[in-house]
Subunit: 395 residues, 2 copies
């Protein structure tokens, strides 16, 4: 067990119709001139944007809006947001969307406090942020956990590089979470979200760097819950209880609760997928499902007891007579693949719909190692050649 | 499932030697003139107080100190603290201790922002606080969870009444948690603490007012963890891992994480015990152990499925053939009593060492109902006559 810090100051307002409190909350946190940042047309079509604007109007708060954030959000849109925010003297960013919108909002909020510098430098890990405008969130996709996290991931669309930056200043002041807002999501998005939530937990679970029993228990509980409700949502997408369980799990999986006492997590699968996201623009959660089984088979012998525990406590594998630890661990990985298939997720890159060349795999592996400044992962240290092998296994 | 808010902004600094960061942290949160508030002589004898003062000195921070906080902390000590803080223009309260010290610190911090009013009015529920000085914590007992909670409990020693007050302004800015600081605690204190931690979770678990699966999973995981390590500490009190698991669980059990989606919790056992604490000055956790089994037997039929789930998932009761739900629920309560006995806790008031008269039981029952302004509990609404019956069952 390692020393740790836990800091999750975001105030969560959870439940039905909570988006009507947007104006009141922005005001409480000092916002007077708001940039409403959102993604596609669904926020407009559903009437959500109108409800949010009405709430801000009722609180007497000035607002401008900027839509068009895409999955794997672009630095170009961030620059556009910073310019718009400067012109309008914006003092609060309200993100209406999922992880991409929140991450883009965080980048704008950093950029606004140092408008003479290029905010991409943060994502290139060339400097640290000195400040961040306050951010509020109205969550419409349960997945990224960015609503309570300190991290954000931005893609430089010119170079195809996807990079993350984390800083406690970027944690949103409040997050409004109404599960009803997620009921119209396409199934593929819903299940990609569930996969991402689980992976945020699993990245912190599969480490060799210290563990706490209470953290493991919480992680396992979150994983069992998400698996249960991901399957329900696959056939019953408007189930409120299921939407709520998954939405709250999305925050708990990535607000560091599931990492207390360990070494910060493995995150190799995430870095391996980030390169695929940067090069092929795949859906993040689905991309994770496509690489995790291969990653797991490549590393499980390095920490067999943990993979056995996972198989038994999370995947419900029963140890029948004659099964070795290795058998149980592999049965757990197979059970995970079967679960991914049950919820319509891929378990390799072919099923994901991409087929990188050997050269592209080499490029992605080098990019992943460069992004973290050295070998990936804590469960097993992965060099470029290891990552290439994992991509090859995941074809 | 109900709508809920979750807000746990306290920054946790967890692990070995973390108390050396006290000065740096007080400074970061704006403290320049600090009241160090603590309990008995152990903080002095162990050298902890000297280390804390050295850390404040190194950061150039003025400090005065006030010790002598007793379990079931007195409003008289709070008044003394407010006077001392006024005279010294204190702008930050540093609590070095467990729940009693933190609660007393919260009361002083409220009192300092409205020095012309009697702070007891908050605990008498006659008004709301308008402000609160910033508070930092160096935790020395894992039990109350006050280090991350919004609540505090103060006893009016003149009237023998023990009352609670909750307000988000009272949540500490930071909590330094070094499990090593708890290794010298007497076993009875350690196990009373474990009982209190479990009860904070159980009060939120046994409700009829909505539940979330992910919240239940987390609650059950915390309970299993505390039971496991409470038994280890009973025979191996210097076990660092066990101290750490219990200490982190103490915060998670009472920072509202285990209440998300339900109706705020039952808390009848707590209120029933508070009256015993006010009248007989018993150790809080031990008092809870002495009343819980009787409370459980009095109410379990009102929510049988939940008591069955508890028996199976937390207490490990196996449903053998022929057992009814009622049998399983009762077996869970019996297993809980057996666990209390294994860690040296009482399961009734005789074992606790008190024997209230019928008249005293009537007085306590009336006090409990008066304290919450009506019937207690959500699992079953308890009137004065119900509470008297529970006291009688717990004799």
């Amino acid at each position: 067990m390692f020393n740790f810090e836990f800091y999750a100051p975001t105030r969560v307002i959870f439940g039905k119709e909570t988006e009507t409190r947007a104006g009141e909350l922005v005001k409480e946190y000092g916002g007077t001139r708001v940039l409403i940042h959102f993604g596609g047309k669904s926020a407009e079509r559903s009437g959500l944007l109108d409800r949010v604007k009405a709430s801000l109007d009722a609180a007497g708060i000035f607002h401008v809006e900027l839509g068009g954030v895409v999955p794997n959000p672009h630095i170009g849109k961030v620059y556009e947001g910073i310019e718009l925010a400067k012109v309008n003297n914006i003092d609060f960013i309200l993100a209406v969307g999922g992880g991409s919108v929140i991450d883009s909002s965080k980048a704008i909020a950093y950029g606004m406090t140092e408008p003479d510098k290029d905010v991409w430098e943060l994502y290139a890990h060339e400097r640290q942020a000195k400040g961040c405008l306050p951010i509020g969130v109205i969550l419409t996709i349960a997945a990224a956990g960015s609503e309570m996290s300190n991290s954000s991931v931005i893609t430089n669309e010119k170079t195809g590089t996807k990079r993350d930056y984390g800083n406690n200043m970027g944690r949103p002041k409040f997050a409004i979470m109404n599960p009803e807002l997620t009921t119209t999501l396409p199934d593929y998005q819903t299940e990609s979200g569930c996969t991402d939530i689980m992976m945020h937990t699993m990245e912190r679970y599969f480490t060799q760097g210290g563990n706490m029993e209470v953290t493991d228990e919480i992680a396992e509980g979150i994983l069992r819950t998400v698996m249960k409700y991901a399957e329900i949502l696959h056939t019953d997408p408007t189930n409120y209880e299921a939407r709520a369980e998954v939405m709250w799990a999305s925050s708990l999986a990535h607000n560091d609760l599931t990492g207390c006492g360990n070494d910060g997590g493995d995150f190799a699968s995430h870095m391996i997928e980030h390169e695929m996201g940067g090069m092929f623009d795949v859906t993040h959660g689905a991309g994770l499902a496509a690489v995790w089984p291969s990653w797991a088979r490549y590393v499980y012998k390095e920490d067999l007891p943990r993979f056995v525990r996972y198989a038994e406590k999370v995947m419900g594998v029963t140890r029948t007579e004659g099964l070795s630890d290795e058998d149980v661990a592999l049965a757990g990985i197979e059970a995970m693949e079967a679960f991914y298939h049950r919820i319509g997720m891929p378990v390799n890159m072919t099923e994901l719909g991409i087929s990188p060349t050997e050269e592209q795999m080499q490029t992605m592996a080098e990019g992943a190692v460069r992004a973290v400044g050295g070998p990936l992962g804590s469960a097993k240290k992965l060099e470029v050649e290891d990552i290439v092998k994992i991509y090859q296994m995941a074809k």
